[in-house]
């Protein structure tokens, strides 16, 4: 049994990746499970999805805590303590990271087989948007050893279901193929299929005072540092800025501060929605890709 866990951000398409991998494996004749963690839908927030592939019927249900393959579509997730993408990983696990840094950068930190490719760059070239669903699905399909024709068929099937048009499907099949050819097939230490134990956990009754906690602090969410959500970074060119305040007023979450009659971007928290870039009447805000 091969257990694959996908970590990404809302909007990158990790749920679709896990579905494509699942469908491709199913078409190749395996038993398959694929599902995301149900949560509120948020573009930019951490997302987790799972695919289990097996020659035998799969009796387990639930999240994957001991992945054989980990696909991380955004390196900044490694800093997110709540998500902790490498949790449950063993030394034999294979970790794929989408990043524009090199492999050595991650090897020491992670201590497992690490493969690094800059898929965002490819996505921007091929699809014109930083959506990685088919690229990552291509990588995953190659790693687990699925034939390319089944991958292509799965991409078509899944994207048709979510209403993509022919041109998008064609571009995404191309993207999946590029992802597929970026990596080599690897030997995977498989997990034994388990007979699930039946274990009933009793939940204790808690007084509402305990079970509904009170937050006595105000406006402390800036500690979450959502600056890691960015793909592109807005940079204000102060020579051009005429202090018209539009970027400041339109910044949805007050990530632009107004200081000494000029806007100042709080990069620890700016999520990179780029409304400021779009709305600046003087085009005084430029974009660079994060990490460049």
């Amino acid at each position: 049994m091969i257990k694959v866990r996908f970590h990404g951000r809302g909007g990158q398409g990790m749920k679709t990746s896990s579905r494509i991998l699942g469908t491709a494996a199913f078409l190749s004749g395996f038993f398959v499970q694929d599902f995301p963690i149900y949560g509120a839908e948020r573009r930019g927030a951490p997302v987790v999805a799972f695919t289990i592939i097996s020659k035998e019927p799969i009796l387990e249900r639930g999240y994957i805590f001991d992945p054989n393959i980990l696909l991380i579509s955004d390196e900044t997730l490694l800093l997110d303590k709540q998500t902790d993408p490498t949790k449950g990983m063993s030394k034999e696990s294979i970790v794929f990271i989408n990043s524009n840094k090199n492999e050595d950068y991650f090897k020491e930190k992670i201590g497992a087989k690490v493969i690094v490719e800059d898929l965002t760059k490819i996505a921007l070239e091929v699809l014109g948007r930083p959506i990685l669903s088919t690229l990552i699905a291509g990588v995953a399909a190659k790693l687990v050893g699925i034939e390319q024709k089944y991958l292509e068929e799965a991409v078509k099937e899944e994207l048709e279901q979510i209403g993509a048009n022919e041109e998008m499907i064609r571009k995404n099949i191309l993207a999946a193929t590029i992802g597929y050819n970026k990596v080599q097939e690897v030997k995977i230490e498989q997990t034994e299929s388990l007979e699930p134990e039946v274990k009933v956990v009793e939940v204790e009754y808690n007084d509402p005072e305990i079970s509904t906690p009170v937050i006595s602090f105000v406006a402390n969410s800036y500690l979450k540092k959502t600056g890691t959500w960015r793909v592109f970074k807005p940079i204000i060119k102060y020579q051009k800025c005429k202090s018209c305040r539009l970027c400041y007023v339109y910044c949805p979450e007050s990530a632009i501060k107004w200081e000494n009659n000029f806007p100042v971007i709080d990069y620890e928290n700016c999520k990179g929605c780029l409304i400021c870039v779009q709305e600046c009447p003087l085009k005084a805000i430029e974009i660079v890709r994060e990490g460049e």
């Binding site: 948020r42 800036y222 007023v249 501060k257 928290n269």
Partner: protein, 318 residues
């Protein structure tokens, strides 16, 4: 009389009148480019930290996730149907405390209900109507993203004609997606007798905050029905949130107006309305009206309804 007086005293005239104090911190779990949190940030700039935000389940559920909160104001979470009832409870508690002289009159708090359109127009409408009936003194910000966005874009009563949602997907049997007309929440509130009802857009912050500032003088239920762009739900790039709102207003799809004690007035009338097509075509939820073949009939119908609305309203204004 009162209505006439209100027309004259414009309090927020330019973007420079918008205070630079912030009452919403960054770092909340909102989508990139969220129009709803922008609306909440703007209204709280004027209501300040001496406010209790009463929040029904929706996208704003994740504004406060233990141990973090985005608000400087206090926050109370209620079930989807009963945010105005929560507001009533707080109002009563404050009144009793003031009456017993436990707190000073100056220490009174604003009560701001913040819900999405799902709670405002369908699930929570009963408790809203009864709160208006009791003339409860509270503010209501209904951020209208025109579907149940928190759970993945299921249709609500305010989903517009022709929009695709996850429960009204365009198919060969129903090529339009949503076939119904949206509920007019503004008129519902006006006919229920609320003293102040306004439609706003975060793309027009001066208009929005001027309404908030002037409404401070009115006691009773006050609605701010805000069309707030939703990048994932409406399927457009996050950077376009302000542009989408602007196109909605300039095309006449979203009319900026207010009703003071029942007297309706448009606060912004686009001089020359742009075609609704401009507004529809940049959103993925209307893509099926353009591809693979353009559904001219449906687009013309939307245009006709907008034209009819303005013809009627402007004629009335004369």
């Amino acid at each position: 009389m009162e209505a006439r007086k209100m027309k004259l005293e414009k309090k927020i005239k330019t973007i420079f009148d918008i205070p630079i104090q912030e009452y919403v911190a960054p770092g909340g779990i909102f989508c990139q480019g969220c129009g709803a949190i922008l609306a909440a940030r703007l209204i709280l700039k004027l209501l300040g930290e001496r406010t209790v935000v009463v929040n029904a389940a929706g996208c704003f559920t994740l504004a406060v996730v233990y141990p973090y909160t985005v608000f400087k104001a206090s926050w109370l979470y209620t079930a989807m149907a009963c945010a105005p009832a929560g507001a009533q409870g707080i109002r009563d508690a404050l009144d009793i405390l003031i009456e017993k002289r436990k707190i000073d009159k100056n220490e009174d708090l604003n009560i701001l209900v913040v819900t999405g359109d799902g709670a405002a127009s369908s699930i929570g409408l009963q408790s809203t109507i009864t709160a208006i009936h009791r003339n409860l003194d509270f503010w209501y910000l209904a951020y209208d993203n025109q579907a149940f966005m928190n759970t993945g874009a299921q249709k609500t009563e305010t989903t517009p004609f022709g929009a695709a949602t996850s429960t009204t997907k365009p198919t060969s049997l129903s090529p339009l997606g949503t076939e119904q007309e949206p509920l007019d929440l503004f008129s519902v509130w006006v006919s229920a007798g609320a003293p102040y009802v306004a439609t706003v857009s975060p793309s027009y912050p001066v208009d929005f905050l001027d309404k908030v500032e002037r409404a401070k003088e009115i006691k009773g239920p006050k609605l701010f029905h805000c069309l707030s762009g939703c990048p994932p739900g409406w399927n457009y790039e996050p950077a376009l949130t302000i542009k989408v709102g602007r196109l909605a207003v300039e095309s006449g799809v979203w009319a900026l107006k207010e009703a003071v004690n029942g007297t309706i007035k448009h606060t912004y009338i686009p001089k020359k309305r742009i075609p609704v097509e401009e507004y529809l075509k940049i959103q993925g939820r209307f893509e099926h009206l353009f591809k693979p073949v353009k559904n001219k009939e449906a687009i013309e119908e939307i245009q006709r309804k907008v034209d009819k609305y303005w013809e009627y309203e402007l004629h009335d204004a004369k």
